[in-house]
């Protein structure tokens, strides 16, 4: 039966015909009659007091309909930028943030004025005519110096630069673990600050209809319901008065989760100007203002026995919060909770320090906290192996949590639901041809060539998440997921999800699940998302590899409710008892009489008629919310082989193997695509990407795609991709997440390979990005 084969099959994506022909609908493709265009004036300084703003020339410029500064918004926007407590509930200092600066600017790019004009070009021209006088203040850029007593402050009204300083309560045996250690290795590990750079920058089109007091916002968002919640609150509107539509979105990677200043300012400008207002971010604005990821360093110590048994870890995370607390910025300390990786430890102690600086805020970026944890533990384990002259494979195997140990409660009380780490490692070693690679390495070393093999036996927690864990982390709203399934009288099925697809292919994969469960043709099922006016009361958006493991399960449960009602009605139609009715292959029949059946479509039609069982209402639709009992735990092994040019320091990835386990797979083509993209994003971090600010002035030095290097097709190796399948016991679909896996896994594999390659020179650790320049200098120093 074809219908039983949809889940697990490569189905061509439904999204694609419009996208490959140029008929997608991204934010800049929308406009409204009478639209005015907004341009923002942004601070050129990282930290300064605003002395005066002169708008005289700009106001007189051609096409300008209004120039606005902070005072114009004061009476129309309430509150401060939302900051979810996330994994650090106790904050020392969270600076107030109004969407437009009035007295003090705290990062380069902060908005100080807005212009509205008839055309984009006129708005941009006029923005250049606004004269702002500043008193420059010292910029806080270095995390360690920022924590010193006499450091300048990133906000003049703050007590110091500490946003949070929090020690996690782990088992009290870490110190004991260090006492019984034969070796202790220490390292400081940097996490370079990254710009998410979705190919489509952000944008907002807002139309406030004053007489109806209705606001419609079209924007490029991963998270339309949260935006409605925040913006309606700030503007003094009811959620029901605001509709947020997030159409085709050209990538997010975490940078389109949280609300931004423009998300409040553009709708308020529409209210002020009494006409629709549109703003589309330029790339420079994007790199300067969209939240950054990572931007951390870790001081870590690991205690181990001579035989390679890992005992204890002490870790301190220093995190560059930026100038303001990102809405979900305090999620990133999850890195501390995940620092133990795939291994058993006697104890881990962890502390996170969030430091306020004069850079743009950090917030989740693909993987958020979990790439950092993987990079940390995989680097540290390699350093222990190097110290003990052990093979990196052996030390991993020796310490893996074993299949019999699941569910496994790790150091901070998180329960790892399932895993089989050796299995993925075995498969990856086979693909890589490990023994041969080591032989080849020995030969190349004799020739003075630097080739290394790097491992990342990664694990991940994702699928946010259980209400008990997530409601306190967001400050109230649990990250569960909702779904609505509506069956029309003629049997077509409309499915509404609260997740948002911006490349993940939900329009394809979610109907695969529904069509299988209902036994109806795939073509009769359609997925809708991204519009708060449609579907359930609240949707929770897409991030943290949650869409399938939470949203997909909610859909499956709503389908279950539809089937339950259909079954009652089918029993009535078949004049049989409900318990005698069987639902198979899209039809209901009485047990033992498969020839006498009612197809699902017939039952759907009947549900809108008059012959219903007593007490049954017309119609066939259901809403379900899924509150998962646990997070889900993907894992895998990545192996990178890297050769470094002895003369120039240029690293070249010559082989890349990824064996990943995301549980049951709905569409293997889409899963592989997610892995490819994730790996390349991590290769970007490992080898090329870094947001650089001038240490003294706080000027952004990588504000364009010329200076901020994304990998192109020419930098990327071919990859060997394979899977193991360990279904998650946490949900009935047996699924986990795969959206972030590649990014979580790959940086450690690449850097471990580079360190392995350079180990003959006595180089133990290399920070990211491992550019030719950095490697050449390290090699030169090591040779001296």
């Amino acid at each position: 039966m074809a219908v039983t084969q949809l889940v697990g099959s490569k189905i061509h994506r439904r999204e694609d015909p419009r996208l490959i022909t140029g008929h997608g609908h991204y934010i800049d493709d929308f406009t409204r009659q009478g639209t005015a265009y907004a341009a923002f004036v942004r601070s050129p300084l990282a930290h300064a007091r605003i002395k005066s703003i002169d708008v005289t020339d700009a106001s007189k410029a051609p096409g300008v309909t209004g120039v606005y500064t902070a005072r114009d918004f004061k009476s129309l926007l309430a509150g401060t930028h939302p900051a979810a407590p996330a994994f650090v509930a106790e904050k020392k200092f969270v600076p107030e943030r109004f969407p437009i600066a009035e007295k003090e600017v705290c990062y380069q790019g902060e908005i100080v004025a807005a212009v509205l004009a008839e055309t984009k070009a006129q708005a941009a021209d006029a923005a250049g005519l606004i004269q702002v006088e500043y008193d420059e203040l010292p910029a806080v850029m270095d995390l360690e110096k920022a924590l010193e007593k006499n450091s300048p402050k990133s906000h003049t009204d703050g007590p110091d630069n500490v946003c949070w300083d929090f020690t996690y309560t782990g088992p009290d045996i870490t110190e004991a673990a260090f006492k019984e250690a034969d070796v202790v290795v220490k390292e400081r590990i940097l996490q370079n600050r990254l710009a998410p750079v979705p190919m489509e920058p952000r944008g907002v089109l807002a139309e406030f209809e004053g007489f109806d007091k209705k606001l419609t916002i079209w924007m490029s968002s991963q998270n339309p319901h949260f935006i409605r919640l925040f913006v309606s609150g700030a503007m003094g509107l009811k959620e029901s008065q605001v509709r947020v539509i997030s159409p085709d979105v050209g990538g997010g990677f975490g940078s389109k989760i949280s609300p931004y200043p423009e998300d409040y300012l553009v709708p308020t400008l529409s209210r002020l100007a009494e006409r629709p207002v549109k703003w589309i971010e330029t790339r420079t604005e994007s790199i300067q203002n969209a939240t950054h990821g990572r931007g951390q360093f870790y001081d870590c110590e690991v205690a181990a026995k001579k035989d390679g048994t890992l005992l204890g870890m002490r870790v301190v995370q220093y995190l560059d919060v930026g100038a303001y607390h990102g809405t979900f910025g305090a999620f990133q300390p999850v890195a501390c909770l995940m620092a133990g990786g795939a291994y058993k430890w006697k104890g881990i102690s962890a502390r996170t320090v969030g430091v306020l600086t004069n850079r743009v805020p950090t917030d989740p970026y693909r993987g958020a906290g979990r790439p950092e944890a993987t990079h940390l533990v995989e680097r540290m384990v390699d350093l222990v192996a190097l110290e003990l002259k052990m093979d990196p494979v052996d030390i991993r195997r020796k310490n893996f949590i074993q299949p019999k140990d699941f569910p496994f409660t790790q150091s901070f009380g998180l329960v790892v639901d399932s895993g089989d780490y050796d299995k993925a490692l075995d498969k990856a070693l086979e693909h890589a041809g490990y023994a041969e690679l080591r032989k080849k390495q020995a030969e190349l070393r004799k020739q003075g060539r630097y080739m290394g093999i790097g491992f990342s036996t990664w694990i991940e927690l994702c699928g946010f998440g259980p209400s008990a864990a997530t409601a306190p982390a967001t400050g109230g709203i649990a990250l569960v997921e909702s779904a609505q399934v509506r069956v029309t009288p003629t049997g077509s099925v409309l499915v509404y999800t609260g997740t948002h697809s911006h490349g993940q292919g939900h329009e394809t994969t979610f109907p695969q699940i529904v069509a299988d469960q209902l036994g109806v043709p795939y073509e009769s099922v359609e997925l809708r998302h991204g519009d708060t006016a449609e579907g359930t009361a609240f949707g929770y958006g897409t991030y943290g590899s949650r869409s399938l493991a939470v949203g997909g399960v909610a859909i499956s449960r709503a389908v279950g409710k539809v089937i339950d009602k259909s079954k009652k009605l089918a029993a009535h139609m078949l004049e049989a008892a409900e318990e005698d009715v069987v639902f198979e292959h899209g039809a209901f029949h009485v047990k033992g009489s498969p020839d006498k059946s009612k197809a699902f479509g017939e039952v759907a039609f009947a549900s809108y008629g008059m012959s219903l069982p007593e007490g049954m209402e017309q119609g066939l639709e259901a809403v379900a919310y899924f509150d998962p009992p646990n997070l889900v735990w993907p894992f895998g092994t990545h192996i990178a082989v890297v050769e470094i040019d002895a003369e120039t320091g240029t690293p070249l990835i010559t082989k890349y193997v990824a064996v990943d386990d995301c549980g049951n797979i709905i569409n293997p083509m889409i899963v592989d695509g997610q892995i490819h993209g994730g790996i390349v994003q991590a290769i970007g971090q490992a080898l090329y990407e870094e947001v650089v600010y001038d240490d003294d002035s706080g000027q952004l030095k990588t504000g364009t795609m010329i200076d901020y290097m994304l990998p192109s097709a020419n930098e990327i190796p071919t990859m060997i991709i394979d899977k193991t399948i360990t279904p998650s016991p946490t949900n009935e679909l047996g699924v986990k997440g795969i959206g972030e896996a590649g990014t979580i896994a790959a940086s450690a594999a690449v850097i471990n390979a580079i360190c392995d390659a350079l180990s003959p020179l006595g180089i133990k650790h290399v920070d990211m990005p491992a550019t030719p320049d950095r490697l050449w200098k390290m090699m030169k120093e090591a040779r001296q």
Partner: protein
């Protein structure tokens, strides 16, 4: 002061009065309503706005609209003919060569020119040939596969090849 510009886009002639500073990509999107050509940067790095100008791949943010006077342009909207996808479009669909889809029109146009110049490229030649276009979702793996697959289809079907070399029309 506005200038009159006459162009042929996807086989249709257009006449507009435009500002001399108007970029070709803005002309296509805002004047002609052809929004399939995207803007992903402001420094001509990303390639999302790639189109064909007289059959040659050009980043349409690097030209002023007035420079396109008398030229024949092909945008992504002109690639499918009579309801049939161009083999490169079909290959991107078949090989999952796109995720969010934002960079895709630029990649398809760049690939069209690449295959026009080199109908049987090696993997290395494809990767080098596409290095002017950036994608953040796919890791390029399936984009490369899509171009390989399109090359194969187009080399076995001369009629399909012709739709590409026709370039501007």
């Amino acid at each position: 002061m506005k200038h009159k510009v006459t162009t042929t886009v996807n086989g249709r002639q257009h006449e507009r009065e435009v500002e001399p500073r108007l970029l070709l990509v803005h002309y296509l999107r805002d004047e002609l309503g052809l929004t399939g050509t995207h803007i992903g940067c402001d420094t001509s790095q990303c390639g999302a706005c790639t189109i064909l100008v007289d059959g040659k791949a050009v980043k349409s943010c690097t030209m002023f609209a007035v420079q396109a006077e008398g030229r024949s342009l092909t945008t992504i909207e002109g690639m499918a003919k009579d309801g049939e996808l161009h083999p490169i479009q079909q290959a991107f669909w078949d090989e999952h060569g796109l995720q969010c889809g934002y960079c895709t029109p630029g990649f398809i146009m760049a690939a069209a020119y690449l295959l026009d110049q080199n109908p049987n490229p090696t993997e290395d030649e494809i990767r080098k040939g596409l290095e002017g276009n950036l994608c953040r979702c796919t890791g390029y793996v399936n984009i490369v596969k899509a171009v390989q697959s399109a090359a194969k289809t187009m080399s076995t079907s001369p009629a399909k090849k012709a739709t590409v070399t026709a370039g501007g029309n």
